[in-house]
């Protein structure tokens, strides 16, 4: 039973993954046909173009081309960046850790703050504090995350020069120890992480609030109160752990939105991750890199969704019996 459920989910993820490959292939081979660029070579003779087509494997059938493409992708051969002439997979490998650092810290902060705010609002339902928090979360939902980033720069890098406004380390700085470097990176992380946290916070807060509101009306909460347990303890020991369940999946399901936010936020703060790589590829029309970042974002989202399903399965016994 358990294995079948997980297996079905994993199979679904695999199918989605194949879809992504097919889509990516058609998008870039058909819409962004490399021959249209070859035709632009001014001095290429027809024979040379035939040779070039053979070199790129474009003389094969569409299915043969797709097989080539899928094989290359599985071997992590994603082509060469038109801008830097370096392997796309190398560029991606350099960028991924920086993006993970940003997303990890931002998600962690948003979860903790969102939970805390959600508990406050749910236990004080209908008060000014509740209204204020709801208004705040609605505002951060409506505000573009890169605009929030720009405002953070205006406030905390320009008006009050507390934090650096861009990049991941001080340019040209030499560090005596790992800790000195880590401290420098941490300082550079403050504003981009704050922007990402503010972008995610509203969602976490709203979900946690409604989850808490539901849990607080359940019988076991009333029973615990009837035993004379102090209200604070009922909330902390019994209500919060039960209300946390939806947050687990939200963290994974939000990954798609996070991917979008990472592109614009990294652009604003010149953070050397996947987002900035995407932005540069957009501006330079560097299609191999764009194809690569799209692939990584898609795979990450699919894996995150699968993880969410698996986690939910482990945490909620109701799913297992269903």
């Amino acid at each position: 039973m358990r294995l079948r459920w997980i297996g079905a989910k994993a199979l679904g993820a695999l199918v989605t993954l194949v879809f992504v490959l097919v889509f990516n292939f058609f998008l870039f081979r058909v819409m962004g046909d490399p021959t249209s660029q070859l035709a632009r070579l001014p001095r290429a003779s027809p024979e040379e173009i035939v040779k070039l087509r053979a070199y790129y494997g474009l003389d094969k059938s569409l299915l043969g081309q797709f097989a080539d493409y899928a094989g290359d992708t599985v071997r992590l051969d994603l082509g060469v960046s038109q801008r830097s002439r370096r392997d796309v997979s190398t560029e991606l490998a350099e960028a991924i850790p920086w993006t993970l650092l940003l997303i990890g810290t931002g998600t962690l902060l948003a979860t903790v703050l969102g939970t805390w705010m959600g508990v406050i609002a749910a236990t004080r339902r209908g008060t000014a504090a509740d209204d204020g928090l709801l208004g705040f979360s609605l505002f951060t939902y409506a505000a573009p995350e890169y605009w929030i980033g720009i405002i953070l720069i205006l406030l905390f890098a320009v008006a009050l020069p507390l934090f650096p406004a861009g990049q991941q380390v001080t340019p040209g700085a030499e560090f005596d120890s790992f800790f000195a470097e880590a401290a420098d990176v941490a300082e550079h992380m403050v504003l981009p992480v704050a922007a990402l946290t503010l972008m995610l916070l509203g969602q976490y807060f709203v979900i946690m609030r409604s989850s808490m509101v539901d849990v607080l009306t359940e019988d076991f909460v009333t029973v615990k109160r009837a035993t004379g347990m102090p209200w604070n303890k009922v909330v902390r020991r019994h209500a919060v752990p039960n209300a946390l369940l939806p947050l687990v999946t939200l963290a994974a399901l939000q990954f798609g939105a996070v991917a979008g936010g990472v592109i614009t936020i990294e652009t604003i703060f010149s953070w050397p991750g996947l987002g900035e790589l995407t932005y540069n590829a957009i501006n330079d029309k560097d299609f191999p890199v764009l194809q690569g970042t799209f692939l990584v974002f898609s795979v990450a989202v699919i894996v995150a969704n699968l993880l969410a399903d698996a986690l939910y399965f482990l945490l909620d016994p109701r799913v297992q019996s269903a």
């Binding site: 609605l138 505002f139 573009p144 890169y146 605009w147 592109i263 501006n283 029309k285 194809q291 969704n305």
Partner: protein
């Protein structure tokens, strides 16, 4: 109908949404006529703060920020609404057909829907918009064609419950065709839901247009709040402390999205009263 009128004009949230959306619609129609200056006119007064001659200061090219802001309302609203209509029509069609006919039709449509739900939206749009050359039409199509899956899911769920109801069964027993049942029984009963959902998608589409424009994928021939942010950021306005250039366009986006989203939630609660207790 009177209930909707009460929600729109007698509640605080309704008034907030209606008046802000009204203001921005007015700007979208008449902004170009009322703008104090030609929004593209450049001058040597570069990045100058607010003054009596330029109420919101100037851009890096010496253009009037207020004029650009007034003209920019049009792109946001046009792209937002047009993309949302495309997305709703597509989502509604997929949801209606899949939900009503079931079987393999449903399974295939559902697989498509799942795929679009999973794939990260902005990266997908960025790729599409870059491969095509950016214009207003491309923006509308790219946003509309990639954000319909949520609507499809909601409509499908509604159709699944509707088609089991007695009045549909009665119509079928009397020999009504599928097209007839879909048109006269199923569609009218899902329309309010589709409408509420469309309004919420307008908010999302406005944000997406601004994001694409900010990433340099906007229509190069028109001024929008997103392209203003792009130009402002690109010219180093934030580090120069030129808040008058970068704060207003973002604030306009935020207020417009807030107004539309508040109205969307209002319609959604009207359609589905169970939601009301949760807020």
């Amino acid at each position: 109908m009177s209930e909707i009128r009460r929600l729109l004009f007698r509640t605080k949230r309704g008034l907030f949404g209606v008046s802000l959306l009204g203001l921005f619609t007015f700007l979208a129609v008449f902004g170009a006529l009322l703008a104090p200056e030609d929004p593209r006119a450049s001058s040597t007064d570069v990045l100058i703060g607010p003054s009596s001659s330029h109420l919101l200061g100037t851009t890096e090219a010496g253009s009037d920020v207020l004029s650009q802001l007034m003209v920019g309302a049009r792109v946001s609203l046009v792209v937002g609404f047009a993309a949302a209509v495309i997305s709703s029509v597509l989502g509604a069609a997929v949801g209606l057909i899949g939900g009503y006919f079931g079987g393999w039709t449903d399974r295939i449509l559902d697989a498509f829907e799942n795929w679009f739900l999973v794939i990260p939206t902005l990266p997908l749009m960025v790729v599409l918009a870059r491969l095509l050359d950016p214009s207003l039409l491309v923006l509308i199509l790219v946003i509309g064609l990639t954000s319909w899956a949520g609507t499809g899911r909601i409509v499908r769920a509604q159709v699944l419950t509707l088609k089991e109801r007695a009045f549909v069964e009665r119509a079928r027993a009397l020999g009504a065709t599928d097209t007839y049942i879909l048109r006269t029984h199923i569609l009218p009963n899902t329309l309010p839901l589709i409408f509420a959902n469309t309004v919420l998608i307008v908010a999302v589409a406005i944000l997406l247009e601004a994001s694409l424009a900010f990433l340099g994928l906007g229509d190069p021939n028109s001024i929008s709040w997103g392209t203003m942010l792009e130009a402002g950021f690109g010219s180093g306005a934030p580090s120069a402390g030129a808040w008058w250039y970068v704060v207003p366009p973002g604030l306009c986006i935020t207020l417009l999205v807030l107004a539309v989203a508040v109205l969307g939630y209002l319609f959604e609660e009207h359609v589905n009263p169970r939601l009301r207790d949760q807020r």
